[in-house]
Symmetry: C3
Subunit: 311 residues, 3 copies
């Protein structure tokens, strides 16, 4: 595993990564995946390093996955959640980050509701900044673990057809996946109601489709997105059940998919809304494989970003 | 310490344990208790294991005791509290647990307000599930540490008389203790106001007593339960001070106890409500010994459940 | 590094420390500071020890600094925050501390809004109690890291003039710094509006000054305090902008300072209130050095207090 040419300190998004960089992350992840599992004591690649998790939005799997990834490499993990931090005393994000750096952090993993906040921090501090989701901008570690999972199942993605279905407009997962998938040569279709999937996405290079049957029929994999009912304003679609009626994936509509098509979801699933409970647990679903691969992929991200070669 | 015959993966409650299993947990706890204390660096029996603490209700001692127990065996501990988890986004408990398993947990310690939720999870996931208190059902690690403490002080419990006093109706601690104590041959009396200690408990095999003096006079130990004023509805007794007047244990009523009778309480104590401050700190009180023994007992539980022999 | 004569178990405040004790803490901190930094795996001076962080008020840097300090010495750290603890069930602070001791803690680091609560606990439990800020009383680790930073920059403080500016009346930082600085031979001026800096402070031995220009002109260092707008009642000054107009330190007023005078702030800074953004980030500001030195100073505190020699 040669990482001597890795030059990127921050993982802010997928858009700016080269294909070589993406493949290198997957290669390192594959190496680490073999070290996980029963009776393993992990690897000590990050022994003595301090990883700070700065999570400004609720999260189970991303926060825990980064924590487990760091601990599996024997790093120390410090968690800062908004509710118990000085941010409640009105400190700026900038000062919190500068302080975390002064406290000796070797990397900061940040989730924040404002798009661009990881980029903003990366210009202020010297330690690597890893974006764990910034508003509707990007969620790079999610897209990388999705890619890892797809390649494990499908091999090369060149020429493959991937449909991303749901609330594209507000989804950082859709954006990051668009970049990984197209860089790997796949053809991406954004699907959902026209209010959530405006035609403008075609200018990015995606296909846009407002008819579920058409969106599913040729897909090698379909990625569902969570309908974020906590953020839902009534203007985008009339009601949740209306959405489910027209775009929810269920047993009947599964017939529109190719037999071997994969079903992905970044979680947490709203069972019975965007995806029916039976399909969530079906053999086509790779949802839990995604979660599992998230550990190895994040080990790779942490290891590479804390060992970049400066020019 | 031979654990080669341990076959139980989950600790869901005491009711289903055999006497042999209970004694094995205590034997392993005794072994680990000797490894604790000054200048000890613990034991590495769980090195490389990941224990996930999933606490859906507030807790100081149980959560910390499991955390310290796991760390004393060199396991990694990941804490998930409801307030910062995806459960706030409407994820089901089932999906949270499936995800925690996919993230590589080696055991899940769960506290939840719904009776039966640990059992429910144990049917869905492959990793050991350890019940840290489920509604009014069971709190097995508490009963095991109570038993450990009683046996350290009293030796065999065969034929001993133990009174459990307070809000029996809503108490998981009372239920779990009933099972450990009767399996060890002790005679259990449930005492308190008739609204909180209905006659029906006699069908379980317990004595029921609504007179404090009678409940105390022959007891070798009395276990007090916390009056849960945060859950108190006015229908069970008129007021806290009414309860204290009739059933609170204080200096005067201590005379009704045998001189050497032990006083136990699972904590947190409402000083001056169910137990007077002076008695809480008296030499008959073993409340802090219970807390201390909780570490060794939980080390035993974690070690056994993650090393069960499948059939 | 000879610590064989260290006899103090608790760090409750600076007032009771001897000059020798203060110098010993700084000497040990200097030793540990050298062990920090890139590619260091820390020191194992506290391997196998359990440090419990009991934080009853929000904090980023102090809580994290103690956590990193403990982990850098290979201790286990257990965090208890008020919101998830049994304190929400009405348990007394005393019982929480007694329980934490029974759980096997080797030291308790406590932040609490009530002055004297660390002293109160130190009389109840046997494990070392370290005050991480108690109401308006003391914040000893903050004053020690301030002192460490000043001495690194200025050498001996004998005869040096230090101005502490802001809300002195409610500040534990001002009190603790007054004690370290005067014990080191410095001359301390308390400055700010007369409502926040009453003349009575002169009886402690401080100078009191209500004119900013006079307070700044001879100072070798100026320590700014946070204006705690979350605690602000209207009676102490008319408005925040009024305070800033008269006592805020900005680019223009910097001219009133000596060229080489240092600017300190315990953080979090209200940029534009007590200190202007440009000065916060200027070369005279040692604010981030303070944060960085906080790790080594707290390593020294934890190491010394858990290794005191009892008489």
């Amino acid at each position: 595993m040669d990482i001597s040419k890795w030059k990127r300190k921050n993982l802010l998004g997928i858009e700016e990564l080269t294909t070589e960089e993406i493949l290198k992350i997957l290669e390192v992840a594959k190496f680490f995946k073999k070290t996980l599992g029963k009776n393993s004591q992990g690897k000590s690649h990050l022994k003595g390093k301090r990883i700070v998790n700065l999570f400004m939005e609720p999260s189970t799997r991303t926060r825990i996955a980064f924590e487990i990834a760091a601990k599996s490499l024997h790093a120390d993990v410090i968690s800062v959640a908004e509710q118990s931090s000085s941010l409640t005393k009105g400190e700026t994000l900038r000062d919190t980050a500068m302080n975390i750096q002064a406290l000796g952090a070797d990397a900061i993993v940040i989730r924040h509701s404002s798009p661009g906040s990881p980029l903003f921090l990366s210009r202020l501090v010297d330690v690597p900044i890893i974006n764990a989701g910034d508003g509707a901008h990007e969620h790079p570690s999610q897209a990388l673990l999705d890619l890892y999972t797809l390649r494990e199942r499908l091999g090369s993605l060149n020429g493959k057809k991937i449909t991303i279905l749901g609330d594209i407009l507000f989804s950082r997962v859709a954006r990051s996946n668009f970049w990984t998938l197209t860089k790997m040569g796949a053809e991406v279709t954004f699907a959902g109601p026209s209010t959530l999937v405006p035609k403008q996405f075609e200018t990015m290079g995606a296909k846009v489709c407002h008819n579920l049957r058409n969106a599913l029929k040729d897909a090698d994999a379909v990625m569902l997105l969570r309908i974020q009912h906590e953020r839902q304003s009534s203007s985008h679609f009339p009601s949740l059940s209306e959405y489910t009626n027209i775009f929810g994936l269920n047993k009947d509509r599964k017939k529109w998919l190719k037999k071997e098509a994969l079903i992905l979801h970044p979680g947490p699933v709203n069972r019975g809304v965007e995806l029916d409970s039976e399909l969530t647990d079906s053999s086509q679903s790779v949802i839990l494989e995604q979660v599992e691969n998230g550990i190895a992929v994040r080990m790779a991200i942490l290891y590479l970003c804390t060992n970049f070669v400066s020019l």
